[in-house]
């Protein structure tokens, strides 16, 4: 194995990955909260359709998802054209585009834990809030959300971790522009391509370590909550 200089390691891809994951998690939380709440409370016929659409990114190959997102966001399409012409925002091969793509890609990882958390709540507790004169929004924010803490933490952490780990979609939509779209997973891929195995090892080991710490903290948190009788 080659001897390499640690100081020469470029951590920009990691910082970019975390920036992307942080933003995606924040945006998805705001968007998914009403969706997950609606799905948990409705008996409408559209529910299975919405659930299936939400779950699509889990089963689709990232290349398929990436391809469609690329098509829709490209300046030649009406959506991409609108953003570029009117708002001056380029959605492909840019960080903004990556955020949009990641929101689609990680959507089920935010919606599903929130939805199942809401579904497991005691229905009478929500009704008691309505009878206390509180609106659905007040009930969601003051009663439902604080009572699904483990699901909430799971949704946030898994969405974050999943976004850090994405590869196919980001490569297709963002390419590999250093400091702009070259996230950690893409950087590792490139290192392997040019046979810089030493660096690839360090980057990969860091990813493994960080992912493990993230998952471990989720499980420890949920375990503790169960122990003190919250769950």
């Amino acid at each position: 194995m080659e001897i390499f200089d640690f100081a020469s390691l470029d951590f920009a891809p990691f910082i970019l990955s975390f920036k992307l994951a942080g933003l995606t998690t924040l945006i998805l939380f705001v968007l998914s909260l009403p969706l997950a709440w609606y799905l948990s409370q409705t008996n409408s016929k559209t529910k299975p359709i919405l659930e299936a659409v939400t779950a699509l990114p889990i089963v689709l190959p990232p290349s398929v998802l990436g391809f469609y997102i690329l098509v829709v966001l490209s300046p030649n399409s009406s959506v991409g054209g609108f953003f570029e012409d009117l708002l001056g925002v380029k959605l492909v091969f840019s960080f903004t585009g990556l955020v949009v793509a990641s929101c689609f890609y990680s959507l089920p990882f935010m919606v599903q834990p929130l939805q199942s958390g809401f579904e497991s709540l005691n229905k009478h507790m929500l009704e008691a809030s309505y009878l206390a004169g509180k609106s659905k929004l007040q009930t969601l924010l003051k009663i439902a959300l604080p009572n699904i803490k483990p699901s909430l933490i799971t949704a946030l952490i898994i969405t974050f971790a999943h976004t850090v780990g994405e590869f196919g979609v980001v490569l297709m939509v963002g390419g590999s522009i250093p400091g702009e779209t070259k996230v950690a997973s893409v950087a590792i891929y490139e290192m392997v391509e040019v046979m810089e195995y030493g660096k690839a090892h360090i980057y990969s080991a860091l990813m493994v370590l960080m992912s493990f710490i993230v998952l471990l903290s989720v499980y420890i948190f949920n375990h503790t909550q169960r122990k003190i009788g919250v769950l």
Binding site: N122, H124, M125, E127, A128, S129, Y130, L131, A132, G133, K134, S135, K142, I143, P146, N147, G229, V230
Partner: protein, 228 residues
Amino acid sequence: MIQIDIHKKLHGSQGDMDLDVKLEIQKGEFIALMGESGSGKTTLLRVLAGLEKAEGDIRVEDVYWLKKQKMLPPQQREIGFVFQDYALFENMSVEENLLYVNDDKVLVKKLLQMTELNRLAKRNVKSLSGGQKQRVSLCRAMMNKPKLLLMDEPLSALDPAMRTKLQDEILKLHKTFGTTTIMVSHDTDVSYNLSDRILVLDHGKIIANGTPQEILLKTSTITYTLSV
């Protein structure tokens, strides 16, 4: 006065049936609602609370809570509801559960004193016993000084000693606040001790309506139905 004339199709454990209830309740009355499981008692309570749809009219004083199919949402009905499973807000303390309904600290203090819960005010509700939880639930239901207090078998999950204690507290609160109350109960003793009037529901219809003495003391098929 509360005037009720409602119809609802039910798909229950005993097959399909119609809930047909026509009833007048005087202000301040305490009504015990009895009947076999699946006779429609809980559904009637939930329709009154606006938690389930029904057709017909519900008129409370001069306000229509239900007119044909037009429902006043539960938020606007000024109802207190005591659920069998307490349904407390588990992320909150005893005091916070009450303040969530109405930010009236004086009333909270009064209610907690009446039910001997003042020492537990800051405790999280998850750490309470069943009897304590049900008392918190009762206090919470009184926080918006309800026009109508609905209780769905509030004592059924409690041991006999706690049942007697809570029974007294229910009566005390009912009298202090002059609330109109409807309580679903399986227990003939509880119904006899608390209520001014007993209604017996069978397959969605009221089959008996009278004072506890009239309903429970005469040896009729109704008493037999209730005792099994």
